[in-house]
Subunit: 407 residues, 2 copies
């Protein structure tokens, strides 16, 4: 019924269906807004600086008094005052006069430039000698030069970085308008899966998928809630997924990996309501059996049962889904440059996210594919990142430079 | 009294003095341990898997029954059972027999390999035809193959990544032993500085530095507390710094930028107790007037007064200090590769961290230095990252490939 989609088609599908997700808004205190997304443009309420500000320690002057001066022919100016930090100078500078001004201090009226301290000499007789000329505006940031009143400084949709938070402080925002965090509900299915606090008996395994998706979601800035482990039964899974959809923006279901279970998850997702199932299978390694559905505006994702596959799929496609819903464009993706330590043949026809570990080798960084029997879980913790192998690639060669995206 | 130190010397100084910081320990619930640092080695309490586990959907066999089979000459085996997920098989496999086993299911006793579903044919008459041979162990993860009991899986000092958190779940740790978060106390000084909620009058400016350092500290996983704005006065600064040192592991003081204030901060730091002042000045742009002291085992850092300088200095040296105290080695630092859009001459004799903005230019990423009058604060929000220009560099050329570390 559904064709297996390529990675590119899957990204496009996500963008088509989830770009207009109705994000809710709230305000949060300034000291808690790091990593949140601005819900409106932030404009300056005042000029910044709000006064003509010296950017150096030195002497405020009328710049034409310094034209043509040199070490052998300094300007001799009357010292008429000293500007104090944070205080408005109560004197003016006329031609032939100067005043000391500290970095960040306000320029006295009449002055239009500042000569740096190091180009001055003060013999203590009330005059100051300046041996360097300044043009009008030199070493001064005029009122509103940095940010003019009403100018938009930070735009709606920006994820607040540390320096943006500092700027919000400078603009006087003690509370900040942001989008509400997306909520994700996480469900594990499988008759063999038991809770973290339990000791597996016989062929049981502990629930790792819930916690992998929880941690990735937390890292993406979501509010994550666990809905526990549900037995492989249509009615039970259906009831839990409906509750999770009701209470969250996104629901992630990691399936038991048996064939029967996968069918149940698909049936549940398709039965939740329009528009229903969007995707059933991605041509990617690992993680082919990935499912995506839409209920109203909300997203429901079915992840592979194997922890390492579920992890990579959520890292790649879950992240793209969430950033799309938030209205965030993917930014510039940083990577570590490394030299591949072995030949690696690729699977033609599907893209691959190859997990690698990194090690320093002198000046060079070496990337080694994390090998082991397929299905080994401990490999996840040995990997530092992944190399994206494109569909059309015939493989990678030992000694080749690769770009490693860190996990 | 103190020589200005190079960047390399400053890093070495930090490592010499703060590598053995006594980190405290605590335990936290599994779902709250992301980004925390393990305070001890984590070993497996059980074999993982705890049973011989099939890694595919297929038929469990005694492998020698499949030796030499092919599509034209399949093995014909009696189907004696079906393994259920999570359940211990209640039958054994003898030569001439096979049983269905799902991915993740337990291998019946007697079986030592699994033939994948796609190499089988079932005509419904109680026999199964297998047209591919398997060697012993094929498509099976034997008990303890992934992780053996008592094997150390995650080492002390590891910062917990999402996949590590999933592994902790698999190992059954509902609570996780971690280092306590470092605490940082943040102080702003300067007669001209007013609070975020205030409207600056005359030549006053709002406190941006406290919030820049707060946000960077939060991003580094610290517990950060603001100690407010202190007037430029030895006794007041001294009292606040002493209180902050008492209550925190690290104290950051961002100075008013006037010459007088800097001296006060140095005097305060030097007077706190042994070993005292370690560093006064780094040969770096921006941020030369940086101070570092040590009181007992604790660190006190004096940052430049200018928000953009304080920000870069804390980003580079504050981070190194904190990672050193935590016992964390700097990992592999990812970057964005970009082409420089202009020529940029460097300052000989000191390293430089050049702020750049990034833009897509077709397939290429373009890095443009964030230009403006020195001292402009709005430049911080326009920068996406920085290019590290080494001391010996004579500058960068337009068209040159540069590595940009994202802010």
């Amino acid at each position: 019924m559904f064709d297996v989609k390529s990675v590119r088609e899957t990204f496009a599908l996500i963008e088509t269906h989830f770009s207009n997700y109705p994000m809710e808004k709230e305000t949060v205190p300034l000291d808690q807004c790091l990593g949140r997304i601005l819900s409106r443009d932030i404009a300056a309420r005042e000029d910044m600086p709000a006064f003509h500000r010296s950017s150096v320690d030195g002497y405020a002057v009328t710049s034409k008094d310094t034209f043509g001066v040199s070490e052998s022919m300094p300007a001799q100016l009357r010292l008429v005052g000293e500007v104090k930090m944070g205080e408005k100078p109560d004197f003016v500078i006329r031609s032939g006069e100067s005043a000391y001004v500290p970095t960040g201090g306000e320029l006295p009226q009449g002055a239009d430039g500042v000569v740096m301290m190091e180009y001055s000499e003060d013999f203590g007789d009330g005059d100051i000698f300046l041996n360097k000329s300044v043009a009008p505006g030199n070493n001064v940031i005029f009122r509103g030069d940095d940010v003019a009143v009403d100018q938009v400084v930070l735009q709606k949709g920006r994820r607040i970085r540390p320096q943006d938070l500092a700027m919000l402080a400078g603009l006087g925002l003690a509370v900040v308008p942001v989008q509400k965090k997306l909520k994700i509900g996480i469900i594990s299915t499988g008759d063999e899966v038991v809770g973290v606090e339990e000791t597996p008996i016989g062929a049981q395994v502990r629930d790792m998928n819930s916690y992998g998706v929880l941690a990735l979601s937390q890292g993406l800035g979501l509010e994550a809630a666990l809905y526990g482990i549900v037995k492989d039964d249509f009615d039970r899974i259906d009831a839990t997924v409906r509750k999770a959809v009701e209470e969250n923006d996104v629901v992630a279901i990691s399936g038991g990996s048996s064939v029967g279970t996968k069918d149940v998850t698909v049936k549940v997702i398709d039965g939740l309501g329009a528009p229903g199932l969007l995707l059933h299978g991605i041509a990617v390694k690992p993680g082919k059996p990935t499912i995506l559905g839409k209920v109203g505006e909300k997203a429901v994702m079915g992840l592979p049962g194997h922890p390492a596959s579920a992890f990579v799929i959520f890292q790649i496609f879950g992240k793209h889904l969430i950033r799309t819903m938030e209205g965030q464009k993917e930014g510039f993706a940083p990577f570590v440059e490394a030299v591949l330590g072995v030949n690696y043949p690729s699977n033609h026809g599907r893209e691959e996210y190859l997990s690698v570990s990194l090690q320093k080798n002198g000046e060079e960084t070496l990337a080694m594919p994390v090998f082991g029997k397929s299905g080994m879980i401990s490999l996840m913790t040995k990997a530092d990142g992944y190399v994206h192998i494109k569909r059309e690639s015939e493989g990678l060669n030992k000694g080749q430079t690769v770009q490693v995206t860190l996990f």
